[in-house]
Chain length 404, copies 2
């Protein structure tokens, strides 16, 4: 039986990807950089199986079969992976001709779609990684990232752990538009993340259509691409290598805000943040104002960043996360019990509190549920190969769990 | 008795002023352009009186005395106007030496401060105009605009009616940083305005401090100043001269959004629009989407613009205003009775309605009072000199109405 199961992580960008120079190959207008989050908490799990008895390529996402459209992104990724297997077989005739078999692929995310977390990055990374394992490819993650990129741009960054740059590249072929690791998670394991899941009634603009509208209409985007992002990529890489959280935070927040600024400079304008998102920004800015006082050490203690939606991701050194959670809960009372994976609060659960010197008037107390839930995680590693006992395909080659 | 009373209008910019190159002289980093609104609806009324018996310069705003600080903006304007009077007297010795007398000045706005409308523009324009009338200066409005500018930058545009550009100028002296009329209100009287007064609990960043934070920290602002605004100034001036509302609207909305984009690109970021502001944008964008359909004429029918606050100003040709009010009232039910100065709705009052083909899902129905009130006005003329019967100073030289 030819099968392999892998998990792949979510990543959240500090320097944002927004705009394609090639929509078919998914080549970006600028480089980007992200932190890979720990698969212990958030992951896509994917099993791939190749079998001569299968009659077509099939794929199930969260127990629901998805159509693999002939020239779509999933078909492209599968075809590219089969091509690499074919090359391998051509060099080693003892290897089974797996690229000639159809595949069944099942993938599950352990986080609810309603959480508003982009699942396409971890999903396409897990798809690519599981086919690479199935086909026993010797390809390095950076090489695989070229293929995951064609499924979903930011998926290329989920092929690696730690701190990952996606170099925009300059070639028309896209062969230099891949992910590289700036530093592994073990270099700076102190980076934790708190995801604030924000309720939103409004249906947002999809990132695929939104970013092209920005490319076509925003006068400011070109300046960002040419004159701002290249320097920021250098500066944040240096901050990561130096473990300089203050500088890392400064650049991360500035780039999140600039990404949303070019969305607003789009015609018609695109809004992803709402009043709750803005209130979280006000809280973190005040927290940093206090941290930047000379008597408090003169450094930023947290960094917010927002993708194409209202959810905040707050990066911070591990030592500050308890204080940050208490501060968020002060302004955004929780309805759900906080799942406390690092055991910060003990049996009594989360307590609301503000740091000394914090000006409580920067935000009002919102009604419970405005921030739906909090997820605490940290920087983590790249895709993991799991044993057969973790397969999400049954022995019959069909998903073990189908959505009823 | 030496006294004069004038009114001056509010103006709302289509190309936004944001950033100073000289904070003392109030010289802007870029040119701007506004529509002067009709004083029949919104105005500052100011009476100035010079008298040898007065013991110091004094000023009352809405019936409350304001301190005239020695090197402050009010003192600068008064001193500049006295200087012009002195020059006049030096040429004509028969003219009374009014510049040697102290002045009493009283000013009232007919719109509540709570409406969130910038009163500094109309206020400093009325101050300048009333002193010019008191001193019988032959100065043209453009010359007076140099002085009003030193009170409050955007006040210089309220010295003229119709469509008014404030040229940034290049001289260190500021002598070429003045307002000029692109076209009088009579050229295009069809331009109406609907002000949507939006409730906001959050105290915003003052524009004076906010714009300098943008100058100091936004990487995008310089691109806007150098490469975007100059072309837009040309394009919108041409649209005004051609009475091309579609183009006028396109530029006005793009520039409002870009102004808020550079606010967001500021560190820490500045937010003036809230979720209600964004919902009004969504409604107007949908209204224009319908208007842009070939079968509906293929043209934009309204333009939103937002200053440093959550209020929307919607410009539109007179023929569309009734439809726009009904649409706004559909999504934002009113608690206050609409004051219908143009008699659009008759005795039954405002009715909520959506235009045919309008997608109602672009916004939810907000709770009554989210948009506190609607003010309907139109393009109007520059400062008006009124008769003595309109004086807001009594015969004793003190305000007729003092706030209790």
């Amino acid at each position: 039986m030819f099968t392999a199961t892998t998990t792949a992580p979510v990543n959240i960008a500090c320097i944002k990807y927004w705009g394609k120079r090639d929509t078919k190959l998914i080549l970006p207008t600028n480089s980007s950089l992200s932190v890979t989050l720990d698969q212990d908490h958030l992951r896509s799990t994917t099993t791939s199986r190749a079998d001569p008895t299968f009659t077509k390529d099939r794929l199930w996402l969260n127990g629901v079969e998805e159509e693999i459209k002939p020239v779509g992104r999933m078909a492209t990724c599968i075809a590219e992976m089969k091509r690499l297997r074919k090359e391998l077989v051509e060099k080693d005739s003892s290897a089974p001709p797996l690229s000639t078999y159809f595949v069944h692929i099942a993938s599950f995310n352990n986080f609810p779609t309603a959480a508003g977390l982009a699942s396409s990055a971890s999903g396409f990374a897990a798809l690519t990684a599981s086919l690479a394992a199935l086909y026993e490819l010797p390809s390095a993650p950076t090489e695989l990232s070229l293929i995951a990129r064609q499924g979903s741009g930011s998926a290329c960054r989920s092929l690696l752990g730690g701190f990952v740059a996606w170099n925009a590249g300059t070639l028309d072929s896209g062969l230099d538009s891949h992910a590289v690791q700036i530093a592994p998670e073990t270099h700076w394991p102190d980076i934790h993340a708190l995801i604030c899941v924000v309720s939103d009634t409004k249906k947002g603009t999809s990132s695929t259509s939104g970013m092209q509208r920005t490319v076509e209409t925003s006068p400011l985007l070109q300046h960002r691409i040419k004159h701002v992002v290249p320097q920021r990529m250098q500066d944040i890489s240096a901050a990561i290598l130096a473990k300089d959280f203050d500088r890392f935070a400064e650049i991360t927040m500035a780039d999140s805000n600039q990404f949303h600024a070019v969305c607003l400079d789009t015609s018609p304008p695109i809004f992803y943040m709402n009043d709750v998102s803005r209130a979280i920004i006000a809280v973190i800015e005040e927290y940093n104002r206090v941290g930047l006082l000379p008597e408090n050490g003169g450094k930023r203690k947290a960094a917010y960043t927002y993708d194409a939606g209202p959810n905040a991701v707050i990066y911070a050194p591990a030592a500050h996360i308890k204080e940050i959670i208490s501060m968020i809960v002060h302004f955004f009372p929780q309805q759900e019990t906080f799942n406390d994976p690092f055991g910060l609060f003990g049996a009594a659960g989360v307590t609301a509190a503000l740091a000394p010197g914090f000006n409580a008037n920067v935000a009002k107390t919102w009604e419970a549920g405005s921030v739906k839930s909090l997820i605490h995680t940290k920087v983590g590693d790249g895709p993991r190969r799991l044993g057969q006992e973790h397969s999400v395909l049954g022995d019959d080659g069909f998903p073990k769990y189908l959505k009823q």
